[in-house]
Subunit: 92 residues, 7 copies
């Protein structure tokens, strides 16, 4: 992962989405159902949290988040998502 | 239950839904009425809770939750739901 | 009342609804008007309350609650409602 | 007023509505305008209040409340309204 | 002003609206524009305030409030408005 | 500026709007675009603030505020706006 | 950057938007997708923050913010945006 120089504010997290795949190396499989499917990605930068609430996720954590979470930004030709930690469901 | 390696964030809980059945071994019966029916499942992973509010449910608890609670994820071919503890009505 | 083994979470309460009747033994009468009519039932299990807010209702209390309060669940063939304590208007 | 055995929960208050009249003995007159008109009644039972906020109204207080406040219940053939104290505008 | 016997609850205030006029003795003039125009009146009774927040307005204060503020009540043939203090913009 | 005798309540501020002009003496220019344009005015009276939150703006501050902020009132023939301090964007 | 004399209130920040470009010197590239795209700019003035919450961004920080964030103002012929710090996603 490239050394990225973005400091998310407060409870925001910068995530590099995993490439779309049917079944990942670790066996995670995103089924094709009617329900909203979580997306997977790797955290590349985190904010300093809100007052009295430091963030839980860390850089390099692989995380699951909602399909519509975050805002797309592109740095040096790579696509990232910037979202609030509350948009993240779990750490794999 | 397989040893699952997902860490839900904050007040989120990972639940393995029970197979659909008319009447369970313990006698719980989900009637076919117009009201929203709760669903049953087993907790397989829990978050660390919110600030000053640890979670109440524990891994292996059988829980009742709302029909539309949570987001479906599949790990190693098994379907799970990730939801907030507040989506859980009761522990059986 | 059967010995029921459900632990409602937080501020939730399990209620066994009273059978529909025009006038109860204790004289409570639910009129047939246009306004939402409260329902009557007996508390069979209570949660542990929210942080710093223990519940007020107790098992065996007869309570009045809103017509659309709670979610139906059936245990051992009997119908119950699981609701938040704030859905309960009064103890009879 | 009959000795009524209902314990309202939290910040709820049981009110016996005054009979509809154009001008009461104490001179209160509810005009017939387009604005929502308050209703008058007598408090017959009060809850214990919310955490750190005891109720202000007392049994036997005559109160004014919004036209659509509360839920109708009937005990021993008499109609009452159960409402939150915040639905009450003033004590007469 | 008549000695009125109404105790507004919490942060509520009883106001006797000033008669509609184009320009008052003190020079306040309510223009005829498209914007919502404030109304003027005299406070005749005040509540005890909310927890830790005593009221600012006092009996006999002349106040400006929003056009649609409050609920009309009539006592001894006189029209009053009962409103929350937050509906009052300023003291003249 | 005339000596005005209005005491705004809580976090409210009385502002004398600047006359509409294309470019002010200090060089502030309000462009003619599709976005909501801020308005400029001078503070003539301020409230005492909310509990534990004194106001920041002072009498004689020139302020920028939203186009639709506040309620128009007229005193001694002059037009003013009464608004909450949170409707004010900045002090010039 | 010109020495600008505007004091944003509370948690507001004055930002000079970067000129629209496809790819900046530092390699940030705003792609042309269906998702809301962040905008880039330089902070030229900051408020004093809210009670107990000083601001994180500083004058001269380059920031990313939402496409519809803020209100346009023009000073000395230059366009600026005034927005809340919470509208800012990250510092570059």
């Amino acid at each position: 992962m490239s050394n990225i120089n973005i400091k998310p504010l407060a409870d925001r997290v910068l995530v590099e989405p995993a490439p779309a795949e049917e079944k990942t190396a670790s066996g995670l499989f995103i089924p094709d159902t009617a329900k909203e499917k979580p997306q997977k990605g790797v955290v590349v930068a985190v904010g300093t949290g809100k007052k009295d609430e430091p963030l839980t996720v860390k850089v390099n954590d692989t995380v699951l988040y909602g399909k519509y979470a975050g805002t797309e930004i592109t740095v040096d030709g790579k696509e990232y998502l910037i979202m609030r930690e509350s948009d993240i469901f779990a750490i794999l």
